[in-house]
């Protein structure tokens, strides 16, 4: 009460220091409250009630209870929280994936090793049924391993999607909380109060939100706080909170996040970044899809190359080798909202040129555009009903009709690791031999002999036809057709789907024969070639073997994991520093509050003394006047 005289001054001080003690007590009580900003009473001296040069002031009054905080530091803390949560989440998933792929026991490498060892054993003992059965068993094991690894990657993807959906739920709850606090704060401001604790709680919610996704905030003049996600999408505007929605995108395993605007769903997946959600959304395309594709690429190289070599061989029954591994064609899935009918045909044309990305096929009204998901690059354009080659693939749109602009297809060319099968069950059907063999006549006088015979065209109908080669008049006559003697010493003869090399100088009249090898069950040349697949550089433009390619995948994931872990450590440190900075401004220090208690207690006692003095002055006055 700013009354007259000393009473007024004393009682104003009493009330003011009472308030200060309350605030100090409030600080002490909240030393353990997360997100609490310490509060200070702002005191102002009361001006003199009467004018005049010697008029004393009228005491003190508390003007405001302020939070000690720095808005800029709060924003900085939020940014760091987002970054730290992003790296932490990314590192966690990457490390799981790394453990799965790189383990020396459960990774792909030991299964590949066992399979090729079994193939070598068949080469050592081609007539043994046991060796052949073992090969088939090892083949099944290897395909099991591919499927297992693909399934584990799929599990990680499902976990990430599940966690993302949960996080979206949490974001919605936090947004709702912020909107509710906005309403309360605006009301309190309207009544002239400064709601410090409400402001603290709102700041805490914003911090929790930043942990989950990067946000920008802007304070309105009425005290409400607007929160934006992505590229300026309003999550909380005044007292209204929008709902984020997480749902499966077309094409199955991808998740998309959007904001509901009236009855439309506005996708904002690509513009969301930072925080747990940013990491969970990035993991899919960045890490998990690429890994599944890389694994599938190794599988395709194995199955296709093995089948090609196997088809050029001969089995125990004398038949040419059949399909050994079966694999599905590259996956193409259409958006359910497409107008077009029919599905494009996607086939693998060149394994060496295959990449590890998915693709998006989109009709722009006049042509089909193919975009690579990994880097967003436009890799090919095809007219309606046409076909085009890119990245080792051939796309044929002949069966797609009635497309309108906006129709899309998702292309997943190498996502096959889960759907492989061994197509052979009879051990006699393993083609360990070659269908043809060569011989030189015992009567030959010259030095020429065969150094190589391989099957280059297994489907040639004349493959097993006997061919006689006679050297006469300086050249080889292959069933009568002339092939000149190569001056380098090695003459190559290619006919009927096989290719032979004759080395050395023949004499006139020397005869050579290439004929069928039916009955040649002890022949292991086919098995040797199949075992040699382990060392063949069939991927990455002819630079990588099967295990090299898998090792590339392991290195890739390992490096990404390491980088994420290092980033996570750095970000944790930066987050800690930001928290420390904030706390040094806004945090409660008990020793400081204890000192304040003492100070205000003394001030209160002094103020009480002032009133006592005023009282005794009054008593003195009354005593003086009483007569």
């Amino acid at each position: 009460m700013s009354g007259n005289g000393i009473f007024g001054i004393g009682s104003s001080a009493l009330l003011a220091y009472q308030r200060a003690l309350q605030v100090t007590g409030h600080n002490i009580a909240n030393v353990g409250t997360e997100g609490y900003s310490r509060q200070r009473v702002e005191l102002a001296a009361l001006s003199p009630a009467t004018a005049g040069a010697a008029s004393p002031g009228s005491g003190v009054r508390p003007v405001a209870v302020n939070r000690v905080m720095d808005g800029f530091v709060e924003s900085w803390l939020g940014m760091n929280a987002s970054a730290a949560a992003y790296e932490r989440t990314y590192a966690q998933f990457a490390s799981h994936l790394d453990n799965i792929l790189a383990d020396p026991v459960t990774g792909l490498t030991p299964a590949l090793n066992s399979f090729f060892a079994a193939m070598s054993d068949v080469a050592s003992d081609p007539t043994s049924t046991a060796a052949r059965q073992n090969l088939l068993a090892e083949a099944e094991s290897l395909l099991d391993r591919f499927a297992q690894l693909d399934r584990r990657i799929g599990e990680q993807r499902a976990l990430a999607n599940g966690a993302a959906t949960d996080t979206v739920e949490e974001i919605n709850q936090l947004a709702g909380g912020i909107a509710a606090l906005n309403r309360q704060i605006v009301e309190a401001r309207g009544r002239g109060n400064l709601p410090a604790d409400l402001l603290d709680r709102r700041d805490q919610l914003v911090r929790d939100l930043a942990d989950r996704v990067s946000v920008n905030t802007m304070e309105e003049s009425d005290g409400s706080l607007n929160v934006y996600v992505g590229r300026g999408q309003g999550l909380v505007v005044g007292t209204h909170a929008s709902q984020l929605i997480a749902r499966s995108a077309a094409g199955g395993d991808r998740l998309e996040v959007g904001i509901r605007n009236g009855s439309t769903f506005v996708p904002i997946t690509d513009s969301l970044s930072g925080g747990r959600l940013g990491a969970l959304l990035d993991l899919g395309p960045d890490l998990l899809d690429e890994s599944a594709n890389a694994l599938g690429r190794v599988a395709i190289a194995l199955t296709d190359q093995f089948n090609e070599l196997h088809a050029a061989g001969m089995d125990l029954t004398g038949a040419l080798g059949g399909v050994f591994f079966s694999r599905p064609e590259p996956r193409v899935s259409g958006n359910p909202s497409n107008t077009a009918t029919g599905v494009p045909a996607l086939t693998i044309a060149d394994i060496g040129e295959l990449g590890t990305s998915d693709y998006q096929l989109r009709f722009d009204g006049s042509a089909w555009n193919v975009r690579r998901v990994a880097d967003g690059a436009l890799v090919a354009t095809a007219p309606e009903g046409g076909s085009v080659d890119f990245d080792g693939l051939t796309l044929n749109l002949a069966s797609v009709t009635g497309a309108v602009a906006g129709d899309t297809f998702a292309l997943q060319p190498t996502r096959v690791a889960r759907d492989l099968a061994v197509a052979i069950s009879d051990p006699r059907a393993v083609a360990a031999a070659l269908p043809v063999r060569s011989s030189a006549s015992a009567d030959n006088a010259g030095q020429a002999h065969f150094v190589d015979l391989s099957v280059t065209g297994a489907s040639d109908p004349a493959l097993l036809t006997e061919v006689t080669i006679v050297f006469s008049g300086g050249e080889y006559l292959v069933n009568g057709d002339p092939v000149p003697l190569d001056p380098s010493g090695d003459t190559t003869i290619s006919v009927n789907g096989w290719t032979a090399v004759l080395r050395g100088t023949p004499a006139d009249g020397d005869t050579f024969t290439v004929r069928d090898n039916i009955g040649g069950v002890g022949d292991n040349r086919g098995a040797l070639a199949l075992a040699g697949l382990a060392g063949m550089r069939v991927l990455s433009g002819g630079t990588a073997t099967l295990s090299d390619s898998y090792a590339e995948l392991v290195v890739d994931v390992g490096v990404k994991t390491r980088r994420a872990q290092i980033n996570a450590d750095v970000q944790e440190k930066m987050l800690h520093d930001a928290r420390a900075h904030r706390d040094s401004i806004s945090g409660v220090n008990l020793d400081e509050e204890a000192a304040n208690l003492l100070r205000y207690q003394q001030a209160y006692q002094a103020a009480a003394q002032v009133i006592a003095v005023a009282g005794s002055m009054f008593d003195t006055l009354i005593a003086a006047v009483r007569r």
Binding site: V31, D98, N99, T109, N113, A123, G522, D523, A580, A594
Partner: protein
């Protein structure tokens, strides 16, 4: 960070943080010591993890080559032993040929020798049809489930295998043949002896198989000789047989030399493979295995750090102004 002020909660948070960090590091070291592995999870050392995979692949490959080499060795040693027995049979045949040419022989005694020669011929066919431990015929080429040598309707030994030679890989760039085709036993050439009385004087070479040499000799010895001309012809025939035996023994020697060379190659390559395997194993160990001495000393240091963090936390936490307010 504001250098002059620290909140109470920050004080405790820092203390707890330090303790947690030391505990985590201690737990990691403990895990390393318990498992003996330097790399606990691949992301500890991505490059090392991949190298480890490559070395394991290399070791698996060398082990496969070692298996192949052992198998090749067994087969070639069997072939060597059979060829030695071939030599013994042919040598005995040669001795008998010398004996049979002797002037003291009679038709009866020659007939007796013929019986033994026929037995030797059968023995030779049996040797030619030797099977290995897997049941495959050694000398049949690629047609290894059928006996390579059989007597046809006319009693002549014919070869029904083929010229195929199976190879196995004993190193990434070396393979070795694990057998020889029996057609080597079929193609002997005996130079014809020119009879000066003949016109034209050129006598064609005789082509005969090892078995043929024995068969022809038995036939010649079973034929009674009643005229001096017939006896003279017998001498020619025995000469031919002798040359046949010489050619056959020469061929067997050729084959044995080839087998011996291959066995040497396998031996040398096995030594090289063992060395290589040791190198790979050592490199793998260097990447994967823990250096115990270093890890134990780091563990001890880490324990000290944890204890220090815990002690200072307690002591710092005890200091409060409230203790001094009355």
């Amino acid at each position: 960070m504001n250098g002059t002020r620290m909140s109470t909660s920050m004080v405790y948070a820092n203390g707890i943080n330090s303790i947690q960090r030391q505990q985590t590091e201690l737990a990691r070291l403990q895990q390393q010591l318990a498992t003996g592995r330097r790399i606990l999870s691949p992301s500890d050392d991505p490059a090392g993890a991949v190298q480890s995979l490559k070395f394991r692949e290399g070791i698996a490959a060398v082990d496969q080559y070692a298996r192949n080499a052992m198998m090749a060795n067994t087969r070639l040693e069997l072939e060597e032993s059979v060829l030695a027995q071939f030599g013994d049979v042919l040598q005995r045949g040669r001795e008998l040929a010398l004996t049979a040419a002797n002037g003291t022989q009679t038709n009866e005694s020659r007939a007796a020798i013929a019986v033994e020669i026929r037995q030797l011929a059968d023995a030779l066919v049996d040797l030619g049809n030797t099977r290995d431990a897997n049941g495959e015929y050694l000398f049949a080429g690629y047609r290894s489930t059928e006996p390579p040598f059989v007597r046809n309707g006319g009693g002549e030994v014919v070869f029904q295998g083929d010229g195929g030679q199976r190879r196995v890989a004993i190193s990434p760039d070396r393979s070795v043949a694990v057998g020889d085709s029996g057609d080597a036993f079929m193609r002997l050439t005996i130079q014809g002896v020119a009879d000066p009385d003949d016109d034209p004087p050129v006598v064609p070479d005789v082509r005969v198989s090892m078995f043929g040499v024995l068969d022809d000799m038995a036939t010649a010895l079973s034929t009674p000789r009643t005229t001096p001309a017939a006896v003279a012809q017998l001498h020619d025939e025995m000469n031919l047989s002798l040359q046949g035996f010489d050619q056959a023994l020469g061929r067997v020697l050729e084959l044995r030399t080839g087998v011996g060379t291959r066995l040497n190659t396998i031996e040398r390559q096995s030594v090289a493979n063992d060395d290589h395997r040791l190198q790979l194993q050592t490199a793998l160990s260097q990447i994967e295995d823990l250096d115990y001495a270093e890890a134990i000393s780091r563990f001890n240091l880490q324990q000290v750090a944890l204890e220090a963090a815990q002690t200072t936390y307690v002591q710092f936490g005890r200091l409060s102004l409230f203790d001094y307010l009355k």
